[in-house]
């Protein structure tokens, strides 16, 4: 042991893999996870071990390998510790959710493995209770081992739609419809890319066969145009690939338009420790790549601190392979969302503060080119509790579409302020005035 302390944020595959790599290299590693258990979104472990959602075998095996290695390593694990950011003097702030206190650390290096964020493009009514994200629904099912009550519609684009539809079906709650926006044909490039990744094809085949057996059809080219309250339920207007509309009344709508790197909290802090991003928060490449990327992040830290790590060639090759596979996979889907020009002015864009597209349009109306900062302050986009995690990217893209493609940077709208997520006032009050590094 060198005695040097390093901190890893995020208990998913990238974080665990980075922690293991650095522990092997002789560092004192602390691994922080905001939830009650490690696993991240992909390997979310159930609240009750007896109620476990079925996941593909390869995925289960990958996690078991990581978890076993971790249990034999000296890595210190802090669950229920939320990363609140790096403050002005360079200290890393964690909120200990069990004790309700702020914990301050000054590590020699910081690995951020914050995962991805789910992208959902706005449609009228998406802010209503009962509208969830497909990924959020999946995480909930992984935690509880149960499907939610009521009729569920799944819509948007991406392989996750298929997976969650199949998992709902396996729990006896088949969705009433699955709408995949993309009409893109299976191109040669996609086939060539995917054939090198048989695990994905195998996984997809498993999901599809379950849906076919249950009589669920994936409707390609169909999407949600709007959602409106209908008593205690939701009335969803659906438009198909030839423009025909129909209505469906359901209890829940799950939306998904792809994944983005979770950038909140990743802005460089001037006085902060040496920081490396790992996994989906650096580049969305999925679970297999996250393990390799975590290893690479760990190696980068070891090299920075003058220690030897293992050979990086294998991990780099895995990353390259997964990148090709993901890019082939992405050609099959359409993450663009609906045409923003067709959205009515009262479409909510920022769900935290209820800010609408009309308010954004008004800000952009004058000849005067307002800056990203003015859009944030006066439009109040990215000013809510989520700090723009769910609207900043869309707002930036919309502004760009109105201005010959000259985008404000998402980071300009989000800013770089801590806390990354809301922290209770009492957590600060409980903190000792000048708590020394712990």
């Amino acid at each position: 042991m060198t005695g040097m302390e390093v901190l890893v944020i995020g208990g998913g595959p990238a974080g665990v893999s980075a922690a293991l790599e650095m522990a092997r290299g002789g560092l004192n590693v602390t691994l922080c996870e905001q939830g009650p258990r490690l696993g991240g979104a992909i390997h979310r472990q159930p609240d009750d071990p007896a109620r476990r959602l079925r996941v593909p075998r390869a995925q289960r095996r990958r996690w078991r390998t990581l978890a076993e290695a971790l249990s034999m390593s000296p890595v210190e694990i802090l669950c229920r510790h939320m990363f609140a950011g790096v403050e002005g003097s360079g200290a890393v702030l964690l909120e200990d959710r069990a004790s309700g206190r702020i914990v301050t650390r000054r590590p020699a290096a910081l690995v951020l493995a914050l995962g991805g964020v789910e992208r959902v493009t706005p449609v009228p009514g998406w802010q209503l209770p009962g509208v969830v994200t497909v990924g959020g629904l999946q995480v909930m099912m992984k935690s509880t081992g149960r499907a939610p009550e009521g009729d569920i519609l799944i819509a948007g684009s991406g392989p996750l739609l298929l997976a969650v539809a199949a998992q709902l079906t396996a729990l006896g709650k088949a969705p009433v419809a699955v709408l995949e926006r993309s009409t893109g044909p299976l191109s040669l490039r996609a086939v060539a890319g995917l054939i090198r990744a048989p695990a994905y094809l195998w996984e997809a085949a498993g999901y599809l066969s379950r849906l076919i057996r249950a009589g669920i059809r994936l409707q390609r080219g169909a999407s949600v145009r709007s959602i409106a309250p209908a008593g205690n339920r939701l009335s969803v207007t659906i438009v198909d690939n030839i423009g025909l509309e129909r209505r469906l009344v359901v209890d829940r709508v799950a939306l998904h338009d792809g994944l983005l790197p979770n950038g909140n909290g990743t802005a460089a802090a001037p006085a902060g420790p040496f920081t490396v991003l790992a996994g989906d928060c650096r580049e969305v490449l999925g679970g297999v790549a996250a393990i390799a990327d975590g290893r690479l992040a760990g190696q980068a830290v070891l090299a920075k601190l003058g220690l030897a790590g293992s050979d990086s060639a294998g991990s780099a090759a895995t990353l390259q392979h997964e990148r090709r596979t993901q890019s082939a996979l992405n050609t099959l889907f359409d993450y663009s969302g609906g045409d923003a020009a067709q959205l009515p002015d009262d479409t909510v864009i920022c769900r935290c503060e209820g800010r609408t597209l009309g308010q954004l349009r008004a800000l952009l109306a004058a000849d005067d080119r307002v800056s990203a900062r003015e859009i944030k302050l006066n439009g109040r986009f990215a000013m809510g509790a989520c700090q723009g995690r769910f609207c900043a990217e869309w707002v930036a893209a919309y502004v760009a579409s109105q201005r010959d493609g000259q985008p404000p940077q998402v980071a300009e709208i989000v800013g770089s302020r801590w806390p990354v997520k809301p922290v209770s006032v009492s957590a600060f009050v409980e903190r000792h005035p000048s708590s020394p590094s712990e």
């Binding site: 002005g88 702020i102 900062r373 302050l377 809301p422 209770s424 006032v425 600060f428 009050v429």
Partner: protein, 372 residues
């Protein structure tokens, strides 16, 4: 932006140059207090009274419709030693014709008792207000009538025939008949006089919204310690490099703004956990219900503080068509609109509506920098 607004209404063709984007300095990071309560007794307090009336006028005439909210400020003493500060500031306000009401006993309990159960006494300062700095700027921008050049740094002033006849930017020389330097700390790049203005950083906190059944706040609570921190009160000859004063401001959104620090630093992009924790500890000591809220944002801004704590507004020595308006420290949101109006009057060759001789640049012997 206020000067640009009034000058354009007076028939001038006006261009606002900003080295960054509008409201990117202290305006975008301010607490929005349009308040006399904390002002230093003397000319500054008198001008603040006029500034609040000016806000009311702008709100009535529609220029700042919906952007100015009238309300009272509550100065609160929670420690025995703060009672003297409360009494003396209250007397000064009364002398400046500001309506104040001393709250003790039952009146205290009924007014601020729920929000600040530990208060020993309070003074309600009436006829104050709140305006969000960046929203005021946005309002003036939308009213238009002048050009804004963002991210356009002024490299220097252009001289010809013994007078200033324009500005030098990276794009070249642009001609103007008059120049107003209202660039906060940046104004000093054009002026001669060492260390006249120093940065004073402030850190602020925004919480999420309180529940409906949370205790009601009658208006912003200003701890008497804030007056000491600000140096408004004689007891507070602040010499330390960092001081904390407490204002708990219930915002229109239902959120709370909690501030703020005064630190002799200029790193406006970072907030420190130590300062934030201290402010929150003080806030919860005064208003325990705040402990149930969450911090959603912390931010910092840098004020431009002059050596004598008074703004600099007036003509710059050695140039008959260059004016300056800077050094407002924490009072820019309160004084800004009025000062913009007074600058317009001066630039138009009129006698300013209010006596601002105490703010004259001449008191520091301020002249144009040679390089400018």
């Amino acid at each position: 932006m206020s000067a640009a607004h009034f000058l354009s209404r007076a028939g001038w063709q006006v261009t606002v140059f900003d080295s960054g984007v509008v409201a990117s300095g202290a305006t975008g990071s301010a607490d929005g207090a349009v308040s006399v309560a904390s002002k230093k007794p003397g000319p500054l307090m008198t001008l603040a009274v006029a500034a609040v009336r000016f806000y009311e006028r702008l709100a009535e005439t529609g220029v700042l419709a919906d952007e100015f909210m009238s309300r009272s400020t509550f100065m609160v003493a929670a420690q025995p030693d703060e009672l003297d500060v409360l009494e003396s500031q209250s007397a000064q306000l009364e002398a400046a014709d500001v309506p104040v009401r001393l709250l003790k006993g039952r009146a205290l309990a009924e007014t601020v008792g729920a929000a600040a159960p530990a208060a020993l006494a309070a003074v309600e300062v009436q006829g104050e207000g709140h305006a969000v700095g960046y929203r005021v700027v946005e309002r003036l921008r939308r009213l238009g009538g002048f050009t804004i050049r963002r991210n356009c740094r002024i490299l220097g002033l252009h001289h010809a025939g013994g007078r200033v006849d324009g500005v030098v930017t990276e794009q070249g020389i642009e001609s103007f008949d008059a120049v107003l330097l209202a660039a906060g700390l940046g104004s000093m790049a054009f002026l001669a006089g060492p260390d006249l203005i120093r940065p004073r950083k402030g850190q602020l906190i925004v919480t999420d919204r309180a529940d409906r059944d949370a205790p009601r706040f009658p208006g912003p609570l200003m701890s008497c310690r804030y007056l000491v921190s600000k140096g408004s009160h004689p007891a507070g000859n602040v010499t330390e490099a960092r001081s904390l004063g407490l204002v708990i401001d219930p915002l229109r959104t239902g959120q709370f703004l909690i501030g703020g620090s005064r630190e002799d630093r200029d790193d406006k992009d970072v907030a420190d956990a130590d300062v934030i924790a201290s402010l929150l500890r003080d806030a919860v000591a005064l208003s325990p219900s705040l402990a149930h809220l969450r911090v959603i944002r912390v931010f910092a801004g840098v004020r431009a503080a002059t050596r004598d704590g008074m703004p600099i507004v007036g003509r710059v020595g050695g140039a008959d068509n260059v004016w300056v308006a800077t050094g407002f420290e924490g009072d820019g949101i309160c004084l800004g609109p009025l000062m913009g109006h007074l600058c317009q009057q001066m630039i138009c060759g009129q006698q300013p509506e209010h006596d601002i001789s105490a703010l004259d640049a001449g008191r520091f012997g301020l002249t144009l920098a040679e390089a400018a």
